[in-house]
């Protein structure tokens, strides 16, 4: 009789340890990056592009990578939203609940969601070669858009599936066409859109394997879609592979900048999500 209570205590102990382990990993990762990243961090890092001999310890910073990453993230997020909102709307309003197409489409997006970014990169690269394109900002935007569309669709769809049927029925009763209900639907899935955007931006800014093939790397800031673009993760990666200790230290600072941007986005995202939730029934 007593045994089961002892077992309960032990099991609970292990569970608490496991949950604490999750915390420990987060704290350890952030602490490790901050400790090594802070010393080499300075204003030049985020305000200048690499000067000559930067990768041998020369002056300059990684503004090229910061701007490149922001360009790619911004453009692909907008493109991704433009493509995925119609898809989610179609799946949930135009198609019936038990539609075969909707089932297959959801399964396909789940599969697309799981495809590693290196595979997207390789695929986009073959297409770019086929089209005669070189590594460029446009290529990077293309592959990141492909990468985040499934994230957008999956997380918006999760919210859209909770749409009350009565709400749609009442708009139809007022004479609205299916297309016109979009005004009501968009307001309802607004928090979903915000969360999805947050997730996608996080994934987009942190992705290295996809842009490696397609966006390339450069020391200057791209001025058109045809020019190669540097990205933050690749900047961290390349600096870390340098044998020069100073450059490696800068890689840690670049990682710190990257993690800082990601954390800021996730905090902002949380605030925005709360704000958008106010129309939710």
């Amino acid at each position: 009789m007593r045994l089961k209570f002892i077992e309960e205590k032990i099991a609970k102990g292990f569970m608490i340890i496991a949950s604490l382990a999750v915390f420990a990993f987060v704290v350890n990762i952030i602490y490790t990056i901050f400790r090594r990243g802070i010393p080499a961090l300075n204003w030049a890092m985020i305000s200048q592009i690499p000067a000559g001999g930067y990768y041998n310890g020369g002056g300059g910073g990684i503004l090229n990578a910061i701007v490149g990453s922001l360009y790619i993230v911004l453009c692909s997020t907008i493109l991704g939203l433009l493509i995925s909102i119609p898809v989610v709307f179609y799946l949930n309003v135009y198609l019936k609940k038990d539609s075969r197409l909707a089932y297959i489409a959801r399964l396909a997006f789940d599969v697309l969601f799981g495809i590693p970014s290196i595979v997207y990169g390789a695929f986009a690269f073959t297409i770019m070669i086929y089209l005669g394109m070189h590594t460029s900002l446009g290529g990077g935007i293309l592959v990141i858009t492909l990468l985040i569309i499934p994230i957008f669709i999956r997380s918006m769809d999760e919210v859209a599936q909770q749409l009350p049927k009565d709400l749609l029925d009442s708009t139809y009763a007022l004479g609205a066409t299916k297309l016109e209900t979009i005004k009501v639907v968009l307001r309802q899935i607004a928090p979903g859109i915000a969360t999805a955007t947050l997730l996608s931006v996080g994934r987009a800014i942190g992705d290295a394997a996809g842009v490696m093939f397609t966006a390339g790397f450069t020391d200057s800031i791209p001025t058109s879609l045809n020019q190669p673009a540097a990205t933050l993760p690749l900047s961290v990666f390349f600096q870390l592979s340098s044998p020069n200790a100073d450059v490696q230290d800068r890689a840690y600072s670049a990682a710190l900048i990257l993690i800082f941007i990601v954390l800021v986005i996730s905090i902002l995202g949380r605030l925005i999500t709360n704000y958008f939730s106010k129309h939710k029934i």
Binding site: K4, F5, E7, E8, K12, F14, M15, A18, S19, V22, F23, N28, I29, T32, I33, R36, I83, P86, V87, Y90, L91, L101, I104, A105, L107, F109, D110, V111, L112, F113, G114, I115, P116, I118, V119, Y120, G121, A122, F123, F125, T126, I149, T177, K178, L179, E180, G202, I205, G206, A209, M212, P233, F237, L240, Y252, A255, L258, I259, L263, S266
Partner: protein, 300 residues
């Protein structure tokens, strides 16, 4: 009035057609990616049979020898270690979150999980080189082998394990929460403790779901590139112990994209690597998603 409403209906239809085509096209993307990678990897089959490529461990692109065994073995090793390390932690903390914890505790753990899920893989790689690799080479490896650089199978496995934790836990929480309240109440009212309920009711009822979640995490781990590239050592040799270097498939693709155009068949070999990843991920994802759908529908 009637012309106005027929205009609105027309607009509705056109928009519907447009959205239908976007939807179908994005579904076709799966097929396109698979087909594209397959067509690109076909040339290598003209010189080598598929089984030979899989079984051989000779990797000399200059001599047209492409043996994928070391890379496949490397990928399998680190993925396996990652799952073995992450699974108990994920199961226990997901049970804790759904069955035991208070809601304010939940909030904290979920925040930690969100951060963990949001950390870019390159940062995991940096963390691996700064923390895990030195720990293995200085503290752990000396107990077992004479010398290890730390850039090992084990380092890749640990880093990957931490990376798949948030995915596993959130899937488990989702699955456990799908079990109806009545199941728990019935078990508790028979005098079972919460742990007995978790063990005999929750875990048993959701077993297929747990398998499916693990398959999803596996497929995520298979494709992880930059972090494992940074901590695995990247030697194209068959690893014999946890303290040997290895060279996972995604790292192979990422490391050689620059040179691959100069050697004939090299590109094709790398595309075959990408195609293998695609196929594995496709099978794992499609089947486990189908299982999860079924579970969620069963309990609804």
């Amino acid at each position: 009035m009637s012309s106005n409403s027929s205009y609105r209906i027309l607009k509705n239809k056109i928009a519907g057609g447009l959205m239908f085509s976007i939807t179908v096209f994005s579904v076709l993307l799966v097929v396109l990616i698979g087909l594209g990678l397959y067509l690109k990897s076909v040339p290598i089959f003209e010189h080598n049979s598929f089984w030979h490529l899989i079984k051989s461990s000779e990797w000399r692109p200059g001599n047209n020898q492409f043996g994928f065994l070391p890379f496949i073995a490397g990928t399998l090793w680190i993925t396996l270690i990652a799952v073995i390390l992450a699974l108990p932690i994920a199961l226990l903390s997901a049970l804790f979150l759904t069955e035991f914890s208070k809601s304010y505790l939940k909030k904290w753990v979920f925040t930690a999980l969100d951060i963990l899920a949001g950390i870019p893989s390159v940062v995991y790689g940096v963390w691996g080189t700064l923390f895990i690799v030195p720990w293995i080479s200085e503290k752990l490896a000396p107990h077992f082998v004479e010398y290890s650089t730390g850039y090992t199978v084990l380092a890749g496995g640990i880093v990957l394990g931490v990376m798949i934790l948030p995915l596993l836990i959130s899937l488990f929480v989702e699955i456990f929460s799908a079990v109806p309240r009545e199941f728990r109440d019935a078990s508790l009212s028979l005098g079972a403790t919460k742990w007995q309920t978790s063990k005999h009711v929750i875990l048993r009822k959701t077993f297929p779901g747990i398998l499916a979640a693990v398959a999803l995490a596996l497929s995520r781990a298979f494709g992880e590139t930059i972090a494992v590239l940074m901590v695995c050592g990247n030697l194209p040799l068959l690893p014999h112990s946890l303290f040997d270097s290895c060279y996972p498939l995604p790292a192979l693709i990422a490391n050689n994209y620059g040179e691959m155009l100069s050697v004939p068949l090299y590109e094709s070999a790398l595309m075959l690597a990408a195609f293998l990843l695609f196929i594995v991920v496709f099978i794992f994802n499609a089947s486990s998603r189908a299982v999860i759908y079924r579970i969620e529908r069963k309990f609804k």
